[in-house]
């Protein structure tokens, strides 16, 4: 075990994957010997050579097109998109290509070796274009897996699973936590199951569902609620596609109350999917409406970020409102 921050955990996963198989490639804008603007890929060129970890020209649709082709050839392609906000030029290659590659060919071909890494989220004074949480844009896409770790330990194990999973995986890294989140992480290889939610804390009064960096807000809110004697169960969804509705439903059948929180704007976010599914599965158990605690329906602003941010106080208020409904 070693103390690592989230970036180091990612870097360690990439390192292990590249050591494990010669067919693992890592690339993106500035990800070559420079190691990426966040340095997630640093050291990899020195270790594995400039043909295994390299810079791409500045073209996200090309990065994903190239990655799809490389994965279809049987390689493991790990493509970094510098910021989640810049993934949209690659939307067609991801949604119409990666996700449908196996199905449309009747399994003659697949891009299972593809992993897309991208930092997402706010809280870093990044304004419109360095703060978005675009996961819901992808969650409507059968064929894709979506994974979002909340801390270094999860990040490493999940990324290793994602890289070698036989399906294309979108792996979204909470950049606010890149350096802020540290913890004990095994130095060797280990994997964590995709598609499985993680009960971070057990409780009996109310369930909070979150993913990625937002789990921290859920925890802080639960701590505060505990002072009021409210006992929250916290579920980290971990994977948004396919997602583990059973674990959430089981929890809500126990607690009778659900608060879902996400960084992204409210409307048509993934919290809506969770609420829609759980009201159906747990209809007779619910004691109050499922609450969604989300960003406002505006672009992500710079100057009122503190107010816009979905902090623990907002989650806490939703918990209280649900308890006193």
């Amino acid at each position: 075990m070693a103390k690592m921050n989230l970036l180091q955990a990612i870097n360690s996963a990439l390192d292990i994957a590249m050591a494990k198989s010669e067919k693992v490639y890592s690339f993106g804008e500035d990800t070559g010997s420079f190691g990426g603007v966040f340095r997630a890929t640093s050291g990899l060129t020195e270790k594995y050579g400039r043909h295994r970890n390299f810079n791409t020209p500045l073209v996200e649709q090309g990065i994903l097109g190239f990655a799809n082709g490389l994965a279809s050839q049987g390689s493991y392609a790990i493509a970094e998109i510098q910021f989640g906000d810049y993934i949209f030029p690659a939307f067609d290659q991801i949604v119409n290509e990666s996700a449908k590659f196996r199905y449309r060919s009747g399994n003659e071909f697949n891009v299972g070796g593809l992993t897309i890494r991208t930092p997402y989220g706010g809280g870093i004074a990044g304004g419109h274009y360095h703060s978005q949480s675009p996961e819901a844009y992808f969650a409507h896409t059968p064929g894709l897996k979506i994974v979002m770790p909340r801390n270094p330990y999860m990040a490493k194990g999940l990324l290793l699973s994602a890289i070698f999973d036989p399906n294309p995986v979108l792996f979204m890294e909470p950049k606010r936590l890149y350096r802020a989140s540290t913890g004990e992480v095994p130095e060797e290889e280990y994997t964590l199951e995709l598609g499985k939610a993680d009960v971070v804390r057990e409780g009996k009064d109310l369930t909070i569902v979150a993913w990625g960096a937002q789990v921290e807000m859920a925890e802080k809110a639960a701590d505060k609620a505990a002072e009021d004697g409210i006992d929250c169960e916290i579920i980290d969804l971990v994977s948004l596609l396919p997602w583990d509705a059973e674990t959430v439903a089981k929890s809500v059948m126990k607690t009778g109350r659900l608060v879902v929180t996400q960084e992204a704007p409210l409307t048509s976010g993934f919290a809506s999917e969770v609420a829609a599914t759980i009201q159906d599965k747990c209809f007779l158990y619910l004691e109050s409406p499922i609450a969604r605690v989300c960003g406002l329906d505006t672009p992500y602003p710079l100057c009122h970020e503190k107010e816009y941010f979905v902090d623990h106080l907002k989650v806490y208020e939703a918990i209280k409102a649900s308890m006193t409904y």
Binding site: K23, G62, G65, N68, E108
Partner: protein, 399 residues
Amino acid sequence: MAKDKQHQLEIVTEPKFIDGSALKIPMLQILKEDGTLHKGAEAPKLDKELALKMFDTMQFIRILDERMIAAQRQGRISFYLSSLGEEAASIGSAAALDDGDMIMGQYREQGALAYRGFTVEQFMDQLFSNERDLGKGRQMPVHYGSAALNFMTIASPLATQIPQATGYAFGQKMDKTGNCTICYFGEGAASEGDFHAALNMAAVYKVPAIFFCRNNGYAISTPSQGEQYAGDGIAPRGVAYGMKTIRVDGNDILAVYQATQLARKLAVEEDEPVLIEGMSYRMAGHSTSDDPTGYRTREEEEEWRAKDPLARFQTYLIKKKWLTEKDAEEIFAEKKAAVLAALKKAEKVPAPHIDELINDVYDTPPKQLKEQLEQLKAHIRKYPEAYPKTASRIDGGEK
């Protein structure tokens, strides 16, 4: 003249704008329209067997296209898309490749696929979306694919396969396979951003890829010159990316064959990606959904009919005494019979089983998807008359 040190650029002190006229790219043509060789031109080395295989394939595709357009009109299949007039481009280039080379097509390269050995039955199974279709009936007709034949499954979104070809070729290079990837696309698709990404990346990474642009004058109704682009076609773009480039007469199978053969050498032996622009003409409508009389003249079509690649090659082969008129007629008749027989057989093969609906979304169906299928099947059992094709087979019943 002075040179700039950092950029190694020539320095000029008078402003001079340059434009497309600075770079006009000629067209390689070996066989004239009348099927004879240009004076002084040398035909590529091509033995009789190979030449006849190429001719054979051209004949087959010509008949397949004609018959399937008719089948669509009769309502036997939902859609078809022919390569009439462009057979030389895909067959001539495919013939210059190794069977281990990957082919990534747009949708009008049935010639390359047939050349690789896709059988007439396999064509029909796909066209009828039956349970023998390798694609499991999931895509529209003409979206063929075969892993065994290294022919990537066709998909409708245009140009997406071009950067994929760059990535595939990169993998081939790293694996030291000695193979390359050929990627076909239309001059219309070359307007997409993916084209730009693909060629630039290929030039930067020096991958063994051949980008073959079929410039057939139209993208559905949109004429290439002046509405798709203002420059001298697609070839100059290769030059701009610093990529080896050549333009050929796409209706001259000898020119196509020779250019592709040399391109393959550059790709495989020197890791030099190559752009080939094949000039041709889409003789039929864009697809069976299209009627070209709305946007072009009969005269224009007639002008191009005179350049027919099949007739041109046939004349050449006859002159060369590798073929007689009678041989050609026999091949034609034989192909026609095979197409008709396969068609009749394929339309009787049932559709894939409903259980296939959820396979291959992921490597294995997730729980939720299995539940969705079970719900659907329960629903069909409840209303068998509403889903007659499926209801009778849903629980393993007779096909």
